[in-house]
């Protein structure tokens, strides 16, 4: 993502000058180093702590007590961090705080900035991220899938558009570093073998419809609607066709979209998610669709993972699990999407925007290196889950009890930073006469139609017996 105040952009500019900046000072590589260190340490700690009792593996990750987020609450926000005077949640926030302080502090030092000024600002940004988590954990908000990203943005926007961001806070407003590090850590959750979950019908709904909708929506946005920003068209297309906020984050970083474009795409997506998670189960009931077909339809169309499961559960357990599995495949497609978009941007979009044909070195220089870290983490964790003894359980344990909490905090701080760096007037510019909204509506209509046809044909007709057998396992 580009920004005038972006340290990485400065570093990139320097890199193209006569005095290239060494790789270890570049933000992308620093994100890869921090992210890989976090997931490697988490995996090793989990591996070492496996206990074997009577030949059975007993697992509990040592980081479990140190990584977490505020819990849900009603009426009293303090319940979120200390319900019934149990303050263990506060301890769980200490882990991500310290890891971020050391990791990002190290990155800032490598880039030649003061650690102390970073530490002071980082503490405040972390507290603001915690506040966003508390806001998102309010039970009504949580039930409507209004994720922390929205509230982190709100908090940042409120500060930057009223009292302004003080200069001493700037050293920790590091949107890109937080996002890229979070994405490398997310790589550990992208397990490639799960792409073939549900077999051929899953492949048909998630592998065929998703890319078709993504490419068609992007083409429609840039060629028919003539949206001035190609990166905005790409972020909206990926957000809508793949899996909401997480896909938007990965794609925006891959195509270097503006911060405001990411915020805007996420706001549109969350708005429609709330509507779709309420209306689609009603529509499925009214049409009289089979639970399996309905679940596959929900999983392939509703953007957000949590909302998919909530909508599916209102139809029944079969629908819930089918919907969740289809969405899981789409979640994993983030890896392919992020890599594909990065390659497409460097080889095609950037080439169109510049007069001279870039050589191989220039293409390599422009390529977002953190995507390589993301794909590398994902391949290594897939291999570990398939080859190590109890690998699948060990990877699941590492992710669920250690790394997912870390990347959640890093993403949350990224959204606080976006808010702190955004002016309302810049957000207004993203409206482009309502074209982004129109693009989302048109793309989602195509998505709903194609997914319904494919889900009905694959889950209800051709592979109906196969799916029934699978559910009966």
């Amino acid at each position: 993502m580009s920004s005038e105040k972006n340290v990485d952009a400065d570093v990139r500019n320097n890199a193209s000058s006569d005095h290239p900046v060494p790789w270890y000072r570049l933000e992308d590589w620093l994100a890869v180093v921090i992210g890989c260190t976090v997931i490697a340490s988490a995996f090793l700690c989990g591996w070492i702590s496996v206990d074997y009792v009577n030949g059975e593996a007993s697992m509990s990750h040592p980081w479990k007590a140190w990584v977490g987020k505020p819990g849900s609450w009603v009426g009293n926000p303090l319940d979120s961090i200390g319900k019934d005077k149990d303050w263990s949640t506060c301890l769980k926030m200490l882990g991500p705080f310290l890891v971020g302080l050391i990791g990002f502090g190290f990155a800032r030092r490598m880039q030649g900035h003061s650690f102390l000024s970073f530490a002071k600002a980082y503490t405040v940004v972390f507290v603001l991220a915690g506040l966003a988590y508390v806001m998102a954990a309010e039970q009504t908000i949580k039930s409507f899938n209004l994720e922390y990203a929205l509230w982190a943005l709100t908090i940042g926007l409120l500060i930057s558009n009223t009292i302004r961001v003080p200069d001493w806070l700037r050293p920790a407003v590091l949107t890109e570093l937080y996002i890229k590090t979070g994405l490398v850590i997310l790589g550990a959750e992208v397990l490639w073998h799960r792409l073939v979950a549900l077999g051929v019908p899953g492949i048909a709904v998630a592998w065929v419809v998703t890319p078709v909708v993504l490419i068609t929506t992007y083409w429609f946005g840039t060629k028919v609607l003539r949206l001035p920003s190609k990166s905005l068209a790409m972020v909206i297309s990926a957000d809508m066709s793949v899996c909401g906020v997480s896909a938007a984050i990965a794609t925006a970083a891959s195509c270097r979209a503006k911060k405001e474009e990411l915020s805007f795409a996420i706001a549109i997506s969350l708005m429609f998610t709330v509507v779709m998670m309420v209306l689609m189960p009603i529509a499925i009931g009214a049409i009289g669709l089979d639970e399996v077909v309905g679940g596959a339809w929900l999983g392939g169309t509703i953007d957000s993972t949590g909302a998919v499961v909530a909508a599916g559960s209102s139809l029944g357990e079969v629908a819930e699990q089918t919907a969740a599995t289809v969405k899981m495949i789409q979640n994993i497609l983030i890896g392919v999407t992020a890599f594909g978009v990065a390659v497409f941007w460097v080889f095609y979009v950037d080439r169109q925007d510049t007069q001279n044909k870039p050589d191989a070195m220039e293409i390599w220089r422009r390529f977002p290196k953190f995507v390589l870290g993301f794909v590398f983490a994902s391949l290594v964790f897939t291999l570990l889950s398939r080859s190590v003894t109890h690998g699948e359980s060990l990877v699941t344990l590492t992710v669920k009890e250690a790394t997912k909490g870390m990347r959640g905090w890093f993403f949350c701080m990224a959204f606080v930073s976006i808010g702190l760096d955004t002016n309302f007037s810049n957000l207004k510019k993203m409206m482009y006469g309502g074209k982004p909204l129109l693009l989302y509506v048109c793309g989602q209509t195509l998505n709903i139609t194609l997914t319904l046809i494919m889900a009905y044909y694959m889950f209800g007709v051709v592979f109906a017996d196969y799916i029934k057998e699978m559910l009966a396992k």
Binding site: M135, T140, S143, L158, E189, A197, L198, V245, L471
Partner: protein, 82 residues
């Protein structure tokens, strides 16, 4: 003098924003949550252990990957499908 007053305006805007958020979170949202259809939905999510705010499938605590699908933990096979 002008700077001082604009500083005041900014602070007032900030305070109004914070008050608005507090009003929504501590006043409006609990009321919406108490409405019957909404509270039914919340109760259903709580009972089933569903986190509707999950961003990625690994955040679905009540589901686990088993036999090529995300399934509920310790769930019996679906009899109706046999």
């Amino acid at each position: 003098m002008i700077r001082q007053s604009s500083g005041w305006i900014k602070s007032i805007r900030f305070i109004v924003g914070v008050m608005l958020l507090l009003l929504i979170w501590l006043g409006l949202l609990p009321r919406i949550g108490a409405l019957q259809p909404v509270s039914r939905m919340i109760d259903h999510h709580e009972e089933s252990g569903i986190d509707p705010s999950a961003m990625f499938y690994t955040e679905l605590e009540h589901l686990e990957y088993r036999d090529g699908m995300l399934r509920k933990k310790n769930q019996e096979p679906f009899r109706a499908c046999e």
